[in-house]
Amino acid sequence: MRHPKLSTLVHPKTLGVAISMLLMLVASACSEGTKESSDTSGLTPLAPECTDESVVACSFEGTTVDHLMPDAPITADGEPIKIGMMNTDSGPATAYPELTKGAETGVRWINAELGGVDNRPIELVTCDVEFSGTGSQACGQQMVTEGVVAVMGGIDVFGDGIQVLEDNGIPLIGGVPVSFPAVDSPISFQFSGGSWGQDLGLVYHITKELDAERVSIVYADFGSVADGAEWAKRALIGQGIAEEDVNMVPIPIVAEDMLTPLTAANESDPDAIIILGTDPGCSSSYQAVLDIGITAQTYWSGACIEPTMVDLIGAENLEGYIYAIESPIDVDNPELRLYDEVVEQYGNDEFNAGSVATVSFKTLMNLYAAMDKIGADNISSESIIDFFRSSVDEPSFLGHPYTCDGQQMGGELPAICSPQQILVRMKGGELDVFTDWIQVADLVQPEE
């Protein structure tokens, strides 16, 4: 296998204390936005190769949306189909406007070149949840009032609006599942394993390949990150590791110096340490691991392969570190090339193509493919929910095929449709994909 280079994982705006760990998930999902590198650490993007005037004129054979791309651009001019997008575009603590920009860019391309859905253009209704529960509720209701048939998820830490969508039978599709309603609600369909899937992916290697006997888990004690850490603990015990040999080390969300928690994690002389800190905390954790001289195998969130963080410490110092990601990072991946070209031609605003925007683009393409299969005349909230609920191994753009039967995480977190993970290892300053897709569901242990 060709060794891929690191992705340009640039989170849009690192701000929050309570929120910063969410970026871990965001950037993990962003691993999808991979580009060729040219510098010594292999972290800078490659300019798109295609120079044609339309995206469909370029050759991107092998994508999951090949069948949706005409030979020449077709402009949709029928009656619009309304879909919504709820995201934290602004807020006092944190914001991720790139997600909305990614969706808007994709919609422009679909309407201008793919002919919409059977000639019906997509009308995107965006709503800013403003990093608040009230904003989320207001957005949920706005979607009801606007009469959208489905809502694309962005990042909504509170998730209060999802309940409004559920009350009204409007499906929530994709995004970054960081709230509990996003993974619990029967109208939610997620193409990511969130922190739960990621952590189980790491546990897979620890138990199946490393055969570890003692494990420490360092985690930000907050929401889905803490819950994911608990899942990892249960999975470790389920795989035969004694409960007393799983050392849980929570860190407060405002932890500045990671030396203390990582020393505590190392004290039990573990074979493996899983580090699920905050996103800005990746560099801090890297530095602490080096300062302490930890020799145990370390496991990290995909967010921690963000180029600046790696550059700061030096990729050569991270030799052997293992990360969980949710998408292939092969630079020749046609879907990544397609995404780059769409951004190049339709990304009106200056925004980072390798950012979290890839998540909303992925969501849009999966929803678009679903609506195409349903057919323009039959599109409704009910038909979209039915489609996803009955999906089995449905191809996903930039991800593992999804099955939304509610059983992908052992019957819990029913909204998670594709929790599968890929593991990559830092090797010679570059990332080496060393596993195929890991079926994390095999590791799920029911809560007692």
Partner: protein, 652 residues
């Protein structure tokens, strides 16, 4: 314990800057770490790109200084910038608040914090967390008892103690330090001996800003972490160290900071292995909240029941007008709100309900802070406590409405009295920090506990009385039901009328007497302890009512009740008018997601950051120029209009 030295040094360094500004001008600067944050960002940006980034809106954001600055060049530029920021902060903000009550200074520093956060977001978009935080201190580590201790942490500790020693020596032995102490004690006296208190304070603010900048630069280069909000919030543990240092002693503060860091490290290490600690207590919360709780207890035990004679009493507290036309106003409010709820669309109904609940929580601050002068940062935590308790009692224990919320409010009132106990012995800024600590403890130990705060991801069942559904939710465009809005409105109006009557009653007069002068009130026969505790009880009860309504509004999340949120709530109540009932109404209208937000249509991206920066400036302006807030300004405006109205000549 040794691994906590680095974290301790972080706390101690920031606490030293806090003590310095407090000794120089009596300000507990909540924006201290934020100043350091901006300077550190500017330093690393300068090192990385050669651009100097200015923190003043309206000026060019980036000025290219030099192509490849050395560490020393960038460091010197950052120090100069920090000093200028310190001077600007003093001359533009705190110079005008020398005689202002502590609350005004708190609000001004909150305004500054909001401004710096917003400007950092505007000036460093997408670079937060991505700037190369290049090491300044040497790498490597050595072992003590098998534990690796990095060299840079030790250097940081030595630097901290050296700074503390220098500051202590400067304040004890140098002319500048002695003059600063003299000016802090007695400005007129300092003037008589030829010292300018103004210049002294300005110099101290410049030194403090430089200290903040250098501290955060060093900390970020060691920990490899720099984030606008996270770094700015480091001020909270630093406040604890400052309290332990008695708000005065540099050396004690430094050692207190180091001790807190080491204690947190030790507690974390122990709590991860201690089986006896119940699983429902969040482990990370213990090491975060426990030092704070111990400090609160210590302050309560060792505090004085009455302030001694050296304490000067505040003469500039905002005017607290006697409520007039209570019943007509209440009736008018009932009519207007009812019409609005029954005629406007769902988004408006949501905004009105948000404003009404926020007004209730703000009213709790009006009672405690506006009427009795007790600065509390725990009001939002009280609301959250009542909300989570209601949810738990309803969802888990199956206790129906109205018993569950009544029980929750009773529990919250009890906790409110408990949190009020330190107020018997501590006051002013110390009480603000103590209540912030209590709020932090509730946040860390209760809200984050799955057993105590967790909702099992279920919505609280809707309230109902006599077969009438008072719930908030329904499907379709009729969502955010008017019935719930009318229910909230009734509670709001009844509570406001009750508070207005309390304010006019002997109890209200006792509250104001205690606010004006505790010693004088005690001499006049007022039971100061009982009066303070009664105010804590009433205010936590009101906050509890607000929290219960939040639970039924389906908006409970630990993130909604943070200390940062509490600071924002206090600031917005001050902006509305902290000492009057109408101020709470204005605060409710201004609250995020409320009526004004809906009127404004919202702002996104950089517009939103710009709006936050403007809000910060507005807070500073109100703190400096108009301590009675917007409602006070409206009241005075109405009075002047009435005076201008031509009077009818008496008939002869």
């Amino acid at each position: 314990l040794l691994t906590g030295l680095g974290a301790g040094a972080v706390i101690a360094l920031l606490a030293l800057g806090l003590v310095l500004t407090h000794r120089a001008s009596g300000v507990v600067n909540f924006a201290h770490a934020a100043v350091g944050m901006f300077v550190a960002f500017a330093y690393f940006e300068l090192r990385h790109t050669g651009d100097l980034v200015l923190p003043v809106l309206g000026l060019p954001d980036h000025i290219h200084l030099i192509d490849a600055p050395t560490m020393m060049t960038a460091f010197m530029a950052a120090i100069i910038m920090a000093a200028l920021m310190g001077l600007a902060i003093y001359f533009c903000v705190f110079r005008w608040l020398v005689t202002a009550p502590p609350l005004s200074r708190v609000v001004a520093s909150l305004g500054l914090l909001l401004y710096l956060l917003a400007v950092a977001n505007l000036r460093f978009p997408q670079t937060a967390g991505q700037l190369p935080l290049v090491s300044i201190l040497p790498q490597g580590s050595f072992e003590i008892s098998g534990v690796a201790v990095p060299n840079n942490r030790i250097i940081l500790v030595v630097f901290t103690i050296a700074v503390a020693g220098l500051l202590a020596a400067a304040f004890r032995f140098t002319r500048f330090g002695i003059a600063t102490r003299a000016a802090a004690e007695n400005e007129k006296g300092a003037l008589l001996i030829g010292q300018s208190p103004d210049r002294l304070a300005a110099a101290n603010w410049a030194i403090s800003a430089v200290l903040a900048g250098v501290s955060v630069i060093l900390i970020a280069s060691v920990t490899k972490q720099l984030d606008p909000l996270a770094t700015s919030l480091l001020v909270v543990p630093a406040l604890a160290a400052m309290l332990l240092g008695g708000l005065r002693s540099f050396m004690l503060t430094a050692f207190a900071g180091l001790a807190i860091g080491m204690a947190q490290s030790g507690i974390l290490n122990y709590s991860t292995r201690a089986d006896w600690i119940p699983s429902w207590i969040p482990r990370s919360g213990i090491n975060f909240a426990l030092p704070f709780l111990l400090i609160i207890i210590a302050l309560t035990v060792y505090g004085e029941r009455l302030p001694d004679r050296s304490v000067t009493f505040e003469s500039n507290m905002p005017n607290s007008p006697r409520p007039r036309y209570v019943l007509p106003t209440a009736l008018g409010a009932l009519i207007v709100i009812s019409i609005a709820l029954l005629t406007l669309d769902s988004q408006w109904r949501l905004a009105i309900v948000v404003s009404m609940i926020a007004a209730l929580i703000a009213l709790s601050s009006v009672v405690l802070t506006g009427y009795v002068g007790q600065i509390s940062l725990a009001q939002l935590a009280f609301a959250g406590l009542a909300g989570f308790t209601t949810a738990k009692l309803t969802v888990a224990a199956g206790i129906p409405f109205p018993w569950a919320p009544m029980l929750a409010i009773a529990i919250t009132t009890g906790v409110g009295i408990l949190v009020g106990l330190p107020a018997v012995r501590v006051r002013g800024m110390t009480l603000a920090v103590v209540t912030a600590g209590a709020a932090l403890a509730i946040e860390e130990l209760v809200f984050k506990s799955e057993a105590l705060g967790g909702l099992n991801r279920q919505r609280v069942p809707p309230p109902g009385l006599f077969g009438i559904d008072l719930g908030f939710f329904v499907t379709g465009r009729d969502n955010f039901r008017p019935a719930f809005g009318l229910f909230v409105m009734t509670i709001l109006v009844v509570t406001f009328v009750a508070v207005a009557n309390l304010r006019r009653s002997p109890t209200g007069l006792k509250w104001l007497a205690v606010r004006a002068n505790e010693r004088a009130a005690a001499a006049a026969g007022v039971n100061v302890t009982g009066t303070k505790l009664s105010a804590f009880a009433v205010s936590s009860l009101i906050a509890g009512i607000g929290g219960v309504l939040l639970a039924y509004r389906g908006s409970l999340a630990p993130q909604s009740f943070t200390v940062f949120g509490a600071l924002a709530l206090l600031a917005i109540t001050y902006l509305g008018g902290i000492a009057s009932i109408s101020g709470a109404v204005v605060a409710g209208l201004l609250f995020s997601g409320g009526v004004f937000t809906h009127l404004g249509g919202g702002a996104t991206g950089s517009q939103s950051d710009f709006a936050f920066a403007i809000s910060g400036i507005a807070l500073v302006v109100v703190a400096v120029l108009y301590r009675e807030g917007i409602s006070g300004a409206l009241r005075h405006g109405a009075s002047r209009l009435a005076e201008l109205r031509p009077r009818r000549e008496p008939s002869t």
